[in-house]
């Protein structure tokens, strides 16, 4: 009889199933589409080297380079973002297939349709810092030996 009481209570209480959330939160560690900032990129192509799925392409030209990203090939592993020393790459948090908070997830019907290319002019190399003035030791002065390493 206990089971019948339980069933009656269940019937009166209604369903307890948690419905699929319409707007689930995007966690801080969520890895979305890779965002590229051309202003910060120096064209080192480390991201292309680290991309195992070949979603990132890099073509070097004279005075400029072309950086391409194909989200259709991306596995969102985040290795390119980790390896970017200049922080020119970031992981997007908006195009969440489940949340649809700010933008709907990208949809493509043809291979490579979502591919984006940026042609960035190479920045002139930064001027080297001025070398410190070299002091010529006077003749006969004691020079610290490499074995001792100088003053400890």
């Amino acid at each position: 009889m206990n089971i019948l009481t339980m069933m009656w209570k269940n019937l009166r209480r209604g369903y307890q199933t948690l419905l699929f959330p319409a707007h689930p939160r995007v966690t801080p560690r969520f890895r979305g589409l890779v965002q590229f900032d051309p202003a910060l990129c120096t064209g080192c192509a480390v991201c292309r080297f680290r991309c195992t799925s070949r979603a990132i392409e890099f073509k070097a030209g004279k005075g400029e380079f072309t950086w391409s990203y194909n989200p259709g090939q991306c596995t969102f592993c985040g290795r390119c973002v980790e390896g970017c020393a200049e922080h020119a790459l970031k992981e997007g948090h908006t195009e969440h297939a489940l949340s649809q908070q700010e933008a709907v997830p990208p949809i493509y019907t043809v291979q490579g349709e979502l591919k984006k290319s940026y042609t960035v002019a190479r920045k002139p190399p930064a001027p080297k810092p001025a070398a410190p003035p070299t002091v010529i030791p006077p003749a006969g002065a004691a020079v610290p030996s490499p074995a001792t390493g100088g003053a400890q």
Binding site: I3, L4, M7, N10, L11, R13, G14, Y15, Q16
Partner: protein, 304 residues
């Protein structure tokens, strides 16, 4: 019964035109009520219909030879038999009948089970064969009680006409027979605690494991029609005799609905029994009551 009334009963009411939507409705009621009693949401109202249409649109794997032919034939025979059984039910007053239609009804009610057994063995799947063997053992167990219950009601009224049984006055023996039919219905409809042949999570879908597409749709429809026929049989025996056709139809649907809810509650409250426990239940516990009912009926007949 003229040819016209026979066709009207078979095709319109309570035949195909009524029975097919009623089958989907009862399947939905069973699934939804079980879900609500388990604190789940359950399927939407049109889900059994959508399932049927979706399955009709799918293709089936090509099967050659006599096994393929048989696998296509079994579900069609099962649907035809179940629809015929529903068509025979004397729902409307003075809808006609013939002497011995009860025996035809019992035969038609049994045909889907035989088709399921044959289908499982035709599919040559190990799960299908296990399910068919279970269905065969179950069928042998509950059918004795089921047939004895109906025979006891028929013997007490001295007739094998369904409409005569439906309009017969209620006696304690009548109620005992109906109770025995109710005990057998969960096994006939493969619901808990006797859901052995198509034991989910155990032997996949039993005899239906190898079925897909329109053939599986036909099996689902046959199952729904079995629900209508099984609950309808109880409804015709329980329903009070009324002269107005629409009222009789409404009472039939209401009692069938109540029986579906009762069986759903039983399915929710119980877990699946093992095959030996099931066979023992029917042969040891319920057979005594069925034999008692038949012997009482025969005794009453000789006394009268």
């Amino acid at each position: 019964m003229t040819l016209l009334t026979a066709l009207a009963r078979l095709l319109i009411f309570p035949g195909l035109l009524f029975a097919v939507p009623a089958a989907w409705f009862f399947l939905w009621v069973e699934r939804k009520s079980v879900a609500l009693m388990q604190e789940r949401v359950g399927p939407p109202f049109m889900q059994p219909f959508f399932d049927f249409i979706k399955l009709l649109g799918k293709s089936t794997p090509p099967r050659s030879g006599i096994a393929g032919l048989l696998m296509r034939a079994w579900p069609l025979i099962a649907v035809s038999a179940a629809a015929g059984a529903v068509g025979l039910l004397p729902v409307l007053p003075s809808s006609g009948g013939f002497e011995g239609d009860l025996i035809l009804l019992l035969a038609l009610l049994e045909l889907p089970s035989i088709c399921i057994i044959a289908a499982g063995f035709s599919s040559r799947s190990i799960f299908g064969e296990i399910g068919s063997a279970r269905e065969a053992a179950l069928s042998v167990s509950y059918n004795i009680v089921f047939l004895l219950a109906i025979v006891s009601i028929a013997a007490s009224q001295h007739t094998f006409r369904l409409d005569a049984l439906a309009s017969a006055p209620f006696t304690p023996l009548h109620w005992l027979g109906i109770l025995a039919i109710l005990v057998c219905l969960p096994a006939k409809l493969h619901i808990n605690p006797f859901s052995l042949p198509n034991a989910e999570q155990e032997i996949y879908a039993g005899p239906m494991t190898e079925y897909a597409g329109p053939e599986l749709a036909m099996w689902e429809l046959s199952h729904g029609l079995e629900w209508v026929a099984g609950t309808g049989l109880v409804a015709t025996l329980v329903a009070p005799h009324v002269g107005v056709a629409w009222l009789a139809a409404c009472i039939f649907v209401a009692i069938s609905f109540a029986v579906v809810l009762l069986l759903s509650a039983l399915a929710t409250a119980t877990a699946r029994l093992a095959i030996d426990s099931t066979v023992r239940f029917y042969w040891q516990c319920t057979l005594i009551f069925a034999v008692l009912a038949v012997s009482s009926a025969l005794f009453m007949r000789f006394r009268s």
